[in-house]
Symmetry: C2
Subunit: 339 residues, 2 copies
C-alpha cells in the first residue's frame, strides 16, 4: 500500500488537512475532541509526514551533518564512534537524521567539501575531533550553524562540547601521587592539540600542588598522533634515559596500551614494577592485561549534548555561542598500584 498522506488522515478523521497539520504541530486552539480524532486516524493509518514536502515549505532538511577525519573514524579505539552514536540517539528524539561523512586530514585548497554542504542539505553540522583549519574556514562561509565536539579552533568564538581535560589530567596525576609515586612520566602526542595540552597542564598543576618539581626528562611529547605505536615508541625513548620511573600518565588509552606493550616487552610487570594510567576509557576492561586505570570521558553523552546543542541552534536561529564542558572521572582498575 502507498504511504498515507495528510489528505488520507483528514478524510479518515473527517476534518480538513489544515486541522491535521495543526494537530501535528500541537497548536493550542484545537478542541480536545478533534485532536483525539485526528490522533487516532494518524495511528490507525500509521501516518508519517513526508519530509520532502515538509522540507520544501519549511526550508529545513531535518538533517545534521557529522564531519570527522578518516583517521579518527577508523581509530582502533572507538572514541569518535561512540560520540557519533550519542548524536544518533539524540537525533531520534529531535526527529533529525545524521549524515556522517569523513574528510581527509590533509584537506587542502581545491578539495571538495562534503556534498551535504554544497547541496545545502543539512540544517546544521557537528564537527568531531581535530580537522584542518582550512576546512573550518570554508565551512564557516556557509552560514550553517556548527557545533564542535572535543576540539575547537582556537581564537574563534564557536559552540563546543568539550572534555574537562585539565581536571582529568589533574585527577590522573593526583591518583599516582596518592599511590606514593615520585617519578611520574607524562607521555603525550601532538602537544599542540588543545586537549592533550590541557591534560598536560593538569599533570603540571597536580605536581605543583603536591610540591613536586617538574622534570623535563620525564616528559615525552615528541610523538605526533596519540596512537598505540607512538605510545610504544615514546615509552622506549623515555625509559631508555630514565631508570627510576615508577609511574606513567599517558595522554590517552591508546598510548597507554602502547606503553604497557613496551614495558612488557622489556620484561616489566604492570603494575608491580610500573603503574600506568591512560585517559578516555575506550579500552574494554578485559582486552588489555592488566585492565587499564584511566580517566573516563562520557563519549555518548558528548554526542548527545552536541546534538541537543545543534538542534537548539537550528531551531532558535540565534547566533549564540555556547560551551558545554563535560565531566570526567577517575576509574581505578589494575594497572596502577601503591608504590
Amino acid at each position: 500500500m502507498a504511504n498515507p498522506t495528510i489528505k488520507d488522515v483528514a478524510k479518515a478523521a473527517n476534518v480538513s488537512i489544515a486541522t491535521v497539520s495543526l494537530v501535528i504541530h500541537n497548536h493550542k486552539r484545537i478542541s480536545m475532541e478533534t485532536k483525539q480524532k485526528v490522533l487516532d486516524a494518524i495511528t490507525a493509518l500509521n501516518y508519517h509526514p513526508s519530509r520532502s514536502a515538509r522540507g520544501l515549505v519549511s526550508r529545513k532538511t531535518g538533517n545534521i551533518g557529522f564531519i570527522l577525519t578518516h583517521d579518527h573514524f577508523l581509530r582502533t579505539e572507538p572514541f569518535y564512534t561512540q560520540i557519533f552514536m550519542g548524536t544518533e540517539f539524540e537525533a531520534r528524539e529531535n526527529e533529525l537524521y545524521v549524515l556522517l561523512t569523513t574528510i581527509d586530514s590533509n584537506f587542502h585548497e581545491g578539495d571538495s567539501l562534503p556534498r551535504f554542504i554544497l547541496e545545502r542539505n543539512v540544517d546544521g553540522m557537528i564537527i568531531a575531533g581535530k580537522v584542518p583549519s582550512l576546512l573550518i574556514d570554508k565551512l564557516s562561509n556557509y552560514n550553517i550553524p556548527i557545533v564542535f565536539v572535543d576540539y575547537s579552533p582556537s581564537n574563534k568564538k564557536v559552540s563546543i562540547v568539550a572534555v574537562d581535560n585539565l581536571h582529568g589530567g589533574m585527577l590522573a596525576t593526583q591518583h599516582l601521587v596518592e599511590l606514593g609515586h615520585k617519578k611520574i612520566a607524562f607521555i603525550g602526542g601532538d602537544i599542540e592539540h588543545p586537549s592533550i595540552n590541557d591534560r598536560f597542564n593538569g599533570y603540571k598543576l597536580a605536581l605543583e600542588k603536591a610540591s613536586m618539581s617538574l622534570n623535563e626528562r620525564l616528559i615525552n611529547t615528541e610523538e605526533d598522533y596519540p596512537a598505540r605505536i607512538n605510545g610504544y615508541n615514546a615509552a622506549k625513548k623515555i625509559f631508555s634515559i630514565n631508570k627510576d620511573i615508577s609511574a606513567v600518565f599517558a595522554c590517552n588509552d591508546a598510548m597507554a596500551v602502547g606503553v604497557i606493550q613496551y614495558l612488557k616487552d622489556i620484561g616489566k610487570q604492570i603494575p608491580n614494577d610500573i603503574s600506568v594510567i591512560g585517559f578516555d576509557d575506550v579500552v574494554s576492561e578485559n582486552s588489555v592485561n592488566p585492565p587499564l586505570s584511566t580517566i573516563r570521558v562520557p563519549k555518548m553523552e558528548m554526542g548527545v549534548e552536541a546534538m541537543r546543542l545543534i538542534s537548539s541552534l537550528v531551531k532558535d536561529h540565534k547566533k549564540i555561542h555556547k560551551k558545554i564542558l563535560v565531566n570526567v572521572e577517575l576509574v581505578v582498575r589494575q594497572s596502577t598500584k601503591k608504590l
Copy 2:
C-alpha cells in the same frame, strides 16, 4: 544569499524551467546550444537541485539506510566501519546519502524499527553483519530493497555482498601447511555464523588436500563472539590440553590478537615457538608485535559494491537477487614462520 532555484537558472539562461530540468536529466532532444547555456548558468549560480522538491515529485528520498548492531559498530577492529566508509564514498558517485543507524543485537518483538524505515525515508537499505532474524523479518515487510553485506539469513533469496570465506580459510591453512606445520589449531567463535563456518570448512578442506587428518582436540569453537578476549580464552583451553601445537589459524584478527596475547603471557615466542594467522586484515601493521599474517578482506570495496548494488536495485525497480563474492588474499607478515 539564498539558494538559487531552477527558476533563477531558467532566468539566467533565458529558457523555461522545463528546459533546465531536461538539461539536468540529460534529455536527448535539447540542442547543444541551449544545453551549454543552461549548464553555464548552473555553474555560474552554483545551483544544486533541491532534494525536497525532487523527492516530493519523484517519490524517492535519495537516502540509503545502513543498519548494523551496536556491537559491530563499536568493535575495536574497524571492520564494519571500513565497509561503511566504502558505502559512503560510493554514495557520493550516485548522489545518495547514507543514514547510519545501529540496533540492539537483542532486538525483539516490540522494539521499534529504525526511524528511517517507519518514516519511509530511505529508498533502500544495506544491512551489515549479523543482525537478529526477527529484525530482518520485520524489515522485509516494507517492500524496500535490501542488500546484505558480510552476512545473510540462510534459506532466503536475497542480494548480498559476501567474502569468499571458504577460499580464505583454505589459503590461511595452506600457508601454514606449506610452512611445514603438522599440528594446526583452529580457533573460532560462534560456529553457527556462516562466515566462521565457511572459514572452518576451508580449514578442513586444506587439511584434506594435504592428506592431514582432522583432530578434534585442535579445534575450539566454543567461544561465542569472535573478540580478543575470547581468542585469549580459547587459546588457554586449547593449549592446556595440547602441548605440541605449532600453528594456530584464528577465525579473525581479533581472536588472533587474543591468541598472541595468551601465548606471550605463557612465555611463548611468536613466530619462533608458534605461528599464528588471522583473518580480515583489520589490525594495523605495527599495532601488534609481531605484525600479523592474515587473510585480507577488501572491506572498502565491499561497501562500494553494496552501495552500487542497492543503487541499481533502487533504480531498476527489479526484484533481482544478486550475489557478489569478493576475493581475499593471503598477507604474509611476521607472525608465521617455517617450522
